[in-house]
């Protein structure tokens, strides 16, 4: 196992060295004699709406001898269970396995189970990504284990019908200016919410959990310090943000919705809440929820719009990666496929198919990105690509530790719901700290 990997590494190094002279035929040289001319079947596992399914046929056409067997899992959570189980079992992982940012921290703990993509040509292409995305996919020994697919820069979704009812402006540039434009803060966001709530008696945002995720993702250091130490107990920044969120709840700004359910989507169509936290990949979710509830998914009357503003400044929520596990028998071909799928042209195609925003700079500036899609029509013809590009500016990578997703979902998740249900902020915070001790400190 070790030996063959070394020879492959050697072959890859030789391949890179000779690349200047022999620009073509590199990928077939790197695989060694075993698969020269043979048909190679590559497996790939993705999840959610990554927009890749239409690209496989093109890759097979351009690379004779490669057959792609694809599998798409419905949600990131199920994909995590799938991947974890197969890592634990030591077999069954696909040649190319997609990983979500939220559980990348756990994957980094066992990064030796994934090949160092630098051995398979990562060094040539590593400049294509926004730097922080590349940094997230690099382990503590400097090995590149993951190629970035999409990122989740956040803008603000708002319902223009609800805004009009409260006498607020509905034009997206005016809405952005109203919240303070580039200087928008959570205070100005909640203050406008109170104004809206007084005017209409309705809630401002859907539930506290997504607000809290956004607030934490925005900090330089979240649940972990940059050095990888736990950073929750006695963290004044977290507590201050929590207090703000609790005050907003006390003012009646939360609609206390169940996240990922939203009353089967109906709350997106009946004006239950007026604003919504929208990373790029969430736009398709909003459209899908309106469709589920039987609303107008083409957008003419749904009233949803997308503003180039976010409280507290630029932030990223979510985004995914492609990895090649050491279990793969064809690491070179798998790495080539992962590299191709994350290249600029393909990321543009993926964005157009299902809306994940590119992590590759050349794709972000590609004029083709701005072409109208079904998603932009739904959001009142908002220039989604343009807005997301601006929202991606200034995003920094936050270190995500191994227990990051557990802290988000099981420590603060229940307490955020408590806030929605009217529990006092201090009590909910203390409950979260108790859970933190139970689940994380004394695990």
């Amino acid at each position: 196992m070790k030996f063959s990997q070394r020879t492959k590494v050697g072959a890859a190094v030789a391949c890179v060295a000779s690349f200047a002279l022999l620009a073509t035929g590199c990928s077939s040289a790197g695989t060694g004699g075993s698969s020269d001319g043979d048909n190679i079947e590559l497996t790939i596992t993705t999840f959610g709406s990554m927009g890749m399914s239409d690209l496989y046929a093109q890759y097979e056409k351009e690379n004779p001898g490669i057959t792609i067997k694809a599998n798409n899992i419905d949600t990131g959570g199920n994909a995590r269970t799938d991947a974890f189980t197969k890592i634990a079992a030591g077999s069954g992982l696909s040649d190319v396995t997609a990983v979500e940012e939220g559980w990348l921290g756990s994957i980094q703990e066992v990064s030796d189970q994934f090949v160092d993509l630098s051995d398979y040509g990562a060094d040539k292409i590593k400049d294509r990504w926004v730097p922080w995305k590349l940094a997230q996919g690099t382990d503590k020994d400097g090995r590149i284990i993951a190629y970035g697919t999409d990122i989740g820069p956040e803008g603000l979704c708002y319902n223009s019908a609800a805004f009009a009812a409260a006498g607020l402006p509905t034009d997206r540039t005016e809405v952005a200016a109203l919240l303070g434009g580039a200087d928008a803060t959570w205070d100005s966001y909640f203050a406008l919410g109170e104004q809206y709530q007084k005017a209409t008696g309705k809630a401002w945002f859907d539930q506290s959990g997504f607000i809290w995720n956004s607030m934490v993702n925005q900090m330089d250091e979240g649940y972990y310090t940059a050095d990888g130490d736990l950073n929750v107990t006695d963290n004044a920044d977290l507590k201050a943000a929590w207090t703000k969120l609790a005050a907003a709840n006390a003012a009646g700004l939360s609609a206390a919705q169940t996240q990922w359910d939203w009353n089967k989507g109906a709350s997106f169509t009946d004006g239950t809440f007026a604003t919504f936290m929208c990373p790029g990949w969430m736009l398709g979710v909003v459209q899908g929820q309106v469709e589920t509830a039987g609303g107008d998914a083409t957008g003419a009357t749904a009233g949803w719009d997308f503003a180039d503003v976010f409280p507290g400044g630029a932030t990223n929520w979510g985004g995914s990666f492609l990895t090649v596990p050491t279990q793969s028998k064809h690491p070179q071909e798998a790495a080539d496929l992962a590299a191709w799928l994350t290249d600029a042209d393909q990321q543009v195609a993926e964005f157009k198919a299902q809306g994940p925003f590119p992590s590759v700079t050349a794709a972000q500036t590609d004029p083709a990105l701005a072409e109208a899609t079904g998603v932009s029509a739904f959001f009142n013809d908002a220039p989604i690509a343009d807005i997301l590009t601006k929202r991606a500016d200034g995003v920094k990578a936050q270190f995500k530790g191994p227990d990051d997703s557990t802290i988000q979902e099981q420590v603060f998740g229940p307490s955020a719901i408590s806030l929605d249900q009217g529990v006092a902020g201090d009590k909910a915070w203390d409950d979260a700290m108790t859970l933190f001790d139970q689940l994380i400190t004394n695990k």
Binding site: F84, Q259, W260, N263, K264, G413, P414, N442
Partner: protein, 350 residues
């Protein structure tokens, strides 16, 4: 027999004996082996399979539970029974155990009562018997996943059917997914919906094996339906009842699918505040979300011991009931029957 053999043993024939005797004993041995071993050989596939898929995982789980074992990075150091003591001191573990017991009691008791009642009704002379009997089994055919999705939608708090119907009689919306008792009731409802008909059919089969003439003679003696049900039917189906109770206990303590899918969007399996997180759900989350395989194995083993304890308890109680009641009762019934028969036979003669 012994006498005819005696001279043979005392017979002085040392030359002939070994060859003859060994040929005989060889055949003897073979046939004896055949008689003695073959039955075990025939049933061995079960035990080999059980050893592979039952016993080995059991032992392996126990070994894992003694280690600090991470899901992804694998075995860590040996910690002895630390995982057990940590779990027994963990309020979240006890919460899961409470939820399991609560859902178990809320489902098993009404389920058995209703199943027995349905079986008693089906045992009567109904028209279109097969139709009714098949209909009660229909819920069992539907997969638990579909049942959970339907119930989850029906008990949706904001726009669910149940809260909507309750609003007609002026009842405020109930927190079917946020409050402890309502959520337990809803999940127990799912279990009951699925298993009541199945248990009713098993009990019906037992009821049908009760001799009709006992019923008839009791009816002739003036015993009404209720009296016959409690005095004849129930005592006679006791062994089957015990079987149903034990299987319901084992199933009830291992409940997973229903609470898992009842609120599938929740980031914590079994409700945001673990309102209906059962023990199996807790150990699943411990293994695959919190990635602590050692502790999850410890929980699995504790659960195993609890189920065995419940099974033994059931067995002992039922054993006592069976010996004190049904045996003496059946004896009494037999004695009575033979007495009446004898008397009946005598009477014409006299």
């Amino acid at each position: 027999m012994t006498r005819t053999l005696e001279p043979d043993t005392s017979a002085p024939a040392p030359v002939k004996r070994p060859g003859r005797a060994s040929a005989l004993t060889y055949k003897h041995r073979l046939s004896r082996m055949d008689v003695k071993l073959s039955p075990y050989l025939y049933i061995s596939p079960f035990f080999v399979l059980f050893g592979l898929v039952g016993l080995f995982p059991l032992v392996y789980t126990f070994v894992v539970s003694l280690n600090n074992w991470n899901l992804l990075s694998g075995p860590g150091e040996w910690v002895g029974f630390d995982n057990y003591s940590a779990e027994l001191a963990d309020p979240l573990f006890w919460n899961s155990l409470f939820n399991t017991m609560s859902i178990f009691l809320l489902s098993s008791i009404p389920q058995l009562v209703v199943a027995t009642a349905i079986a008693a009704i089906l045992d009567q002379n109904l028209r279109a018997k097969t139709f009714w009997r098949m209909s009660v089994l229909i819920p069992y055919v539907v997969t638990p996943v579909a049942v959970a999705l339907i119930f989850s939608s029906m008990f949706s708090e904001q726009s669910g059917l149940v809260n909507h119907l309750l609003s007609f009689v002026g009842v405020d919306p109930i927190g079917w997914k946020t409050d402890v008792l309502p959520s337990h009731l809803a999940i127990a409802g799912m279990v009951n919906w699925r298993w009541t008909g199945y248990n009713a059919l098993i009990l019906l089969a037992a009821m049908q094996s009760v001799p009709r003439d006992i019923h008839e003679s009791a009816a002739l003696d003036g015993a009404g339906f209720v009296r016959r049900f409690f005095s004849i039917t129930l005592p006679s189906i006791r062994p089957t009842m015990i079987f149903v109770i034990i299987t319901a206990t084992i199933g009830g303590l291992q409940i997973f699918t229903e609470p898992r899918l009842y609120d599938a969007t929740s980031s914590t399996a079994g409700g945001a505040h673990r309102q209906f997180q059962t023990t199996v759900l807790y150990l699943w989350e411990m293994a695959f979300q919190r990635q602590n395989f050692g502790k999850a194995s410890a929980v699995a083993f504790i659960l195993f011991i609890i189920i065995v304890a419940f099974g033994l308890l059931n067995f002992l109680i039922s054993q006592r009931i069976a010996t004190t009641d049904s045996r003496s009762e059946s004896k009494r019934a037999k004695r009575q029957l033979s007495r009446t028969l004898r008397n009946g036979a005598k009477e014409p003669r006299a």
